[in-house]
Amino acid sequence: MQRLRSLFTQNTLLPYGLAVIIVALTTLVLFGLRESLSTPVIALLYLLPVVVSATLWGRGAAVTAAVCAFFAFNYFFILPLYTLSVHQPQDLFALIVFLVVAIVISQSVSWARAGMEAASAREREATHLYEFATALVGLRSLQPIMRAIAEKTLETFRAECVEVEIADEPTPLRLPGPHPGRRPNYVEVLLAARDRQGEIRLWRAAPFTSAEERLLRTFASQGALALGRAHLALAETRAKVLEESDRLKSALLSSVSHELRTPLATIKASATSLRSETVDWNAEARRELLAAIEEETDHLNRLVGNLLDMSRIEAGALHLQRRWNALDEIVAGVWGRLRPRARQHRIELDLPDDLPLLPLDYVLMEQVFTNLISNGLKYAPPETAIHVSARAQADGYVRVQVRNQGPHVPEEHLERIFDKFYRVTAADRVTGTGLGLSICKGIVEAHGGRIWAENLPDGFAFNFTLPQQWEGLAPPRPPVELEGA
């Protein structure tokens, strides 16, 4: 049916030929039945091929059919037979009425048909446009928009090949496959608000109808609008990022200068006191002041370390020195170093002996545990334990938990505590730059893991995962020797 119809539309003479054939066939049938049919019935039956031609093949075919039927009717059925002359005036009258009726019918039927065709063409066009617009809805970046334009154009116009090129993308997108190796049959410019955004190129042997040309133009302008929107969104995002980084910088400056000055104030006060010749410090007081200087220096050093780590994470310059490492060794080392300032807390380690070695950057992972345990030391009440546990999971990750008996964090803050400078508590109650947890997040994610916090019935916990595999290799298990070997 499809092929038949395209045959008809392509060959303009065919409808007339078919009209002639269908009249000839009707004549053959009527001629066979001429004994049992009266002239008026024959005239009526001759209207059939006219109506069929009008419905199927349009006005031209219908008129052809009408004229042919007029002559065939006259020649084969009107006396005298087998001539085109007419003796009876009433027969002449019948013939003329027949011709007029046939032509009027063919006109009105073909008008109705043209109207229907136009309506369904408009409907198809509207459907295509709707689908095109739907495909573009919600797309905010250039490449998906390019792809949507190319896919829809290819599908709608049944093209051999469609190529979409836009100004900001170095390579054009071509569907479905390689270049046909000749110049495109149609090129439509993607134009929005007089800005040339790019081009749609289309390869198709069959010529375009005017409706198709109109549709392609509409596609192009819709596509260009979507591209324009994407450009605006992109510019907006850039502006937001800049604004955000400005905001972060000033937050950093205010937070950092406050945080750095606090230990400096202690150091300065202690050192000037010790130098003062007006006071004769006793041994106990001297020790106290000197201890303050030493502790605050360490504190300052940690702050600077955190700042450096943060800036490296931010700059994407975190180069992991990965090796197969034992988690228990890392945690034990961190606890050993934190112990002097953690006398009010205990640590409980729950790290199974058969925990696999993990591909970790030792120093950075120490930083993660240092920050998470320090966080617990800061918030958990004295005389409570900090609990560190790890388990190998079936999904190829090891899950680590650092738990303390500190207060809950409101659910709405649980995700944001890993943001830079984000503090749940008022800054004057607990010291810190608000960088520690975001550093942990940066390091864990650089290792391919995930970190999150949760409230527990009896405290608060940080959880994170670490992959067991490294470049496709499972954790090694070096052979163990027997004693005395």
Partner: protein, 231 residues
Amino acid sequence: MNSAPHVLVIDDEPQILRALRTILAEHKFRVTTASTGEEGLALAAAQPPDVVILDLGLPRMSGLEVCAQLREWTQVPVIVLSAHDTEHDKVRALDKGADDYLTKPFGIDELLARIRVALRHSAQAQGSPEPVVTAGNLRIDLARHLVTRGEATVKLTATEFKLLAHLAANEGRVLTHQTILARVWGPEYADHTEYLRVYMRQLRKKLEDDPDQPRYLLTEPGIGYRFVAEA
């Protein structure tokens, strides 16, 4: 006093030079200072020091380069100083022949301990090595392959002993992962830190009172291990 050990400090920070000069002189060392690598090398040639303290972050000629040039003609112990988070540089310096490292900022006790160890090892290098190393209640007899903890003999596997012996012979000094692996397992194992992790855990279980808080077998994060006799 002429017998006082001679320490050469090479650092471009005047305040560090000032502090170290004062502190080390107070601890009975003879101190010379240089603020560039070139000056340091010239001074080392003119008055051979007993220990060199070398900052890795020197301008122009880097500390690494100075270390390499020193090693061309002298085995003088070199202790490198470096900023936080430059484990890679420290390992490179140690591989280039430096004896030990300290991370800035450091406590003066740590620096003095490193200097003492360096002096002891350079004295030993001239004589014969100590056949027996003791640390707390541990006694490691390197010649007879015997390790005792208090009264009891500790049973070690061949590799465990080899590892412990290498660490103990370098008592007080940091040894990089690569050096230990190449020495104990062979050069082709130099990158297999997993062996070291596993065997160190075993050694700690056999020798330390609390394997999680070791006193003798210390981890140097990102660098290697250090055996310490005095806790």
